[in-house]
């Protein structure tokens, strides 16, 4: 009897591991920045490059930092969701235009709509490195104290906006 039970148990355990593995996304590398202060930067605004923006400027507010680029295909999928979110006026979304040409970024926003409170140009991608960006789009939820509370790697979908990002924003809004 043992002859049959033992291989069967081994098989079930192995199949269990493989089944769980199927639903894991190897691209979703957990960010070490969660729970840490959003790295400081000082970047020019896209539309007004002489003006600079730093995360210090929005301390006391809950905000989203959305890393995007005009050359990024999945940013186009996520764009209408951001436009919709901006219309509802729930949370300010700051765009980090990652390794992009100014004119390309402006053209994209002109044709697809501009959901951003402010767009910042990270032309050489250095701020991206500080935020651990490895694939655009990526979105960070930053609280009133300037702490990164959540990171979405890959495009925002209706589902994770509804289930993760918006509840997180609502929760953080209630905190001092």
């Amino acid at each position: 009897m043992m002859r049959f039970i033992l291989p069967f148990v081994v098989f079930v355990v192995l199949a269990g591991f493989l089944y769980v593995g199927l639903s894991l996304d190897p691209r979703d590398v957990p960010s070490p920045l969660i729970g840490k202060a959003a790295p400081a930067f000082n970047l020019p605004e896209l539309y007004n490059p002489t003006k600079k923006f730093s995360p210090e400027d929005v301390k006391g507010k809950v905000w989203l930092l959305n890393v995007w680029a005009s050359w990024c295909a999945s940013c186009k999928d996520e764009h209408p969701i951001l436009v919709e979110l901006a219309r509802k006026n729930i949370v300010p979304v700051y765009g980090l235009d990652y390794k992009d040409k100014r004119s390309d970024a402006e053209n994209t926003l002109r044709s697809a709509g501009d959901p951003y409170t402010l767009v910042l140009s990270d032309t050489d991608g250095r701020v991206g490195i500080d935020y651990g960006v490895y694939g655009v789009p990526e979105t960070y939820v930053i609280d009133k104290q300037g702490i990164i509370q959540y990171k979405q790697t890959g495009p925002i979908t209706h589902r994770n906006l509804r289930e993760k990002i918006l509840p997180m924003v609502a929760k953080l809004e209630k905190l001092p």
Binding site: V29, P30, P32, G125, I129
Partner: protein, 153 residues
């Protein structure tokens, strides 16, 4: 005229050496150190390639970053820490020994021990299943006769 032409042709190979990769630094020692370190780091875009061999744009940026940090005088360990603070342990090809990597590090050895134990148990079982039987003197004689016969041939 013809001689000059031939001479010029002979000089042609001098211009034919391969151009260096675009982001090579001028400092060869630094570049070697950078590549050495980058081989131990994972490119986050391709995931199965090292930072040294990846052609992804991010990898080029990170090589530039590593090079600059080295120029600033940071040690290899400091640079690793710098990258881990941004991208997590995932950038290291060799994961650090931590509570949640214990299984990864020592699991194979545990499996080996389990395998050896199972093998020993099986061998013991087999030995007890086949008890040694003493040969009767008649059989003994036949056996030696056969063996001796063999020798004579």
């Amino acid at each position: 005229m013809r001689r000059i032409f031939i001479l010029l042709l002979c000089l042609m190979p001098l211009f034919a050496y391969a151009g260096e990769a675009k982001d090579m630094a001028t400092d060869q020692v630094l570049e070697k150190r950078m590549i050495g370190l980058a081989e131990k780091l994972r490119c986050l875009v391709c995931q199965n390639e090292s930072l040294a061999s990846s052609h992804a744009e991010l990898a080029a940026d990170l090589r530039r970053e590593v090079r600059e940090l080295m120029t600033k005088g940071m040690s290899d360990q400091e640079i690793k820490d710098y990258l881990v603070a941004r991208y997590g342990d995932f950038v290291l090809y060799e994961p650090p020994v931590k509570s949640y990597t214990l299984l990864l590090w020592f699991g194979p050895f545990a499996l080996l021990l389990v395998g050896l134990a199972l093998l020993l148990v099986q061998l013991r079982k087999r030995r007890s299943a086949m008890p040694e039987v003493a040969l009767s003197s008649e059989a003994q004689q036949r056996a030696s006769a056969l063996l001796n016969n063999e020798k004579d041939n």
